[in-house]
């Protein structure tokens, strides 16, 4: 079977700046920041005091009590985003399409809310037994399993886990499966809900979390801010979308992966550049055809400087004309969901021909030498865009999208 073109016909988002694509789009184009004081856990004894939380999320509004007992917060986010995406796509999976649809989600941490609460009761409160659903709730594959069950998707299904690149790896693999004819459609993306006391103590100990905000590519940046949420994409072939008359959000044009094979935390410009080049080659794009790069852009000194070097290496002179922005400036770093939230932002940018800003930038870092679209969104002709995800451990993924 020859290569088939793959498009996105459904999108769903649960995020700190709005749930549902319409709210999310309004927020990213307005440069609205969803980072604020931590409210999910007591901050006594924590130096991390801010995060991008999904505020006002009411699980009971989405799930009955029986179902909810089986769902970690991460699975709840995934299901709500998947329902939005599937509804928007207009696809039904009851017939033969269900057999030919893949479910591939990214999750970096897994059901740590369930784990944290269970272990607190066990070790601190001295209870003798844990809830019988502890394991099915916390397993890193649970969100994927729950989404497959929700819609009766009986094709290939698994969770991709590569820390901060999990969702990009998931989307990339789903894209390859549909393109290669291993599946006719895919429900893919990422989810993460890991703002627990125990996990935050772990991040605190790494000493890379900002005390006051996420300012990617800014001269005054001083670290990352954690986030949470989910985004889900429905993929199918361009041909099937056209036959159905579906609303096409954009094309997944290419996917590139690489490993730094160097350091467990420090990023490497060569590894990042290899992933971007691989995505461009896979998409058949020349660097000059790309108008926008949705950066990994965490707001740490090391990531942003390294990513800027990698972008200059890949794009040469064109790097100065490129628009580069970081969605994490508004939602924080949602780890295993980040690549999906950012793919969603990239698709919306292509669709609207408006590039969302890097919010909160006070002074763009001249050392990065990039147009990072500070503070305000900008209208721009963008035919193709990249979305970067560079994970701890040097596991890199870049997705290329094209306007349809």
């Amino acid at each position: 079977m020859g290569h088939r073109r793959v498009v996105v016909t459904g999108l769903g988002v649960v995020s700190p700046i709005g749930s549902g694509v319409a709210d999310y789009a309004d927020s990213i184009f307005a440069g609205r920041c969803g980072i604020g004081p931590l409210s999910l856990v007591p901050t006594q004894g924590l130096s991390v005091r801010i995060a991008g939380e999904v505020r006002g999320f009411d699980p009971a509004a989405h799930f009955d009590a029986r179902r909810l007992g089986l769902l970690d917060r991460g699975s709840q986010f995934a299901l709500v985003a998947a329902r939005q995406a599937v509804e928007a796509s207009g696809l039904g999976f009851d017939g033969p399409l269900g057999l030919r649809t893949a479910t591939i989600l990214g999750t970096g941490v897994g059901g740590i809310t369930t784990l944290d609460e269970g272990f607190h009761r066990l070790y601190r409160e001295g209870v003798q037994r844990l809830h019988p659903f502890t394991i099915p709730r916390l397993m890193v594959s649970a969100p994927t399993a729950q989404v497959s069950m929700e819609f009766g998707l009986t094709g290939p299904a698994f969770t991709a886990s590569s820390a901060c690149a999990s969702a990009a790896h998931a989307i990339g693999l789903a894209f390859q499966m549909v393109r290669g004819g291993l599946a006719d459609a895919a429900v893919t993306g990422g989810t993460e809900a890991s703002l627990t006391f125990g996990a935050l103590k772990g991040w605190e100990a790494m000493r890379i979390v900002s005390p006051d905000g996420c300012r990617p590519f800014c001269e005054t940046r001083n670290g990352m801010v954690l986030g949470e949420g989910a985004a889900v994409l429905v993929l199918e072939t361009l041909d099937s979308a056209r036959v159905r008359g579906a609303d096409i959000l954009g094309e997944v044009a290419g996917f590139g992966m690489s490993a730094d094979a160097k350091d467990i935390t420090a990023p490497d410009a060569e590894g990042a550049a290899r992933a971007m080049r691989a995505a461009l080659a896979d998409a058949g794009l020349e660097p000059e055809e790309v108008g926008y790069v949705n950066a990994h852009g965490t707001g740490t000194t090391a990531n942003d400087a390294t990513e800027a070097r990698a972008i200059h290496a890949v794009f040469g002179d064109h790097a100065r004309r490129l628009l580069v922005s970081s969605t994490k400036s508004m939602v924080g770093h949602a780890l295993g969901a980040a690549g999906a939230l950012e793919a969603a932002a990239t698709l919306l940018a292509l669709r609207r021909q408006v590039v969302p800003p890097t919010a909160g930038v006070e002074r763009p870092d001249p050392a990065c030498a990039l147009d990072v679209v500070p503070r305000d969104a900008r209208e721009a002709r963008v035919e193709a865009a990249l979305s970067n995800s560079f994970a701890f451990g040097g596991l890199n993924a870049a997705l290329a999208f094209r306007r349809v």
Binding site: M206, R207, A302
Partner: protein
């Protein structure tokens, strides 16, 4: 050498995997090949040993450590303070 200084240098030597006699106060951590992850481990070990909080952010040059003496001074200044 004070007992505190002795303890701090011992921890830097152990966690940074550097011979103790190379730890001059003006020696740069980078020159001793003490990597950023080692520095985080050193800070953690010092906080555990002395029961203190050291203000250290790997992203903030003002709170970063350049030399062995920087680490020692950071511990001394926190230990000298009465417990909050």
């Amino acid at each position: 050498m004070t007992e505190l200084e002795n303890d701090v240098l011992g921890i830097i030597a152990e966690k940074g995997r550097v011979e103790r006699d190379r730890l001059a106060l003006d020696a740069r951590l980078a020159d001793l090949e003490i990597a950023s992850l080692d520095v985080i481990e050193i800070v953690f070990a010092l906080e555990e040993r002395f029961g203190i909080e050291i203000p250290f952010n790997a992203n903030d040059a003002r709170k970063e450590f350049d030399t062995v003496g920087d680490v020692l001074r950071a511990v001394e200044s926190v230990v000298a303070k009465p417990a909050a």
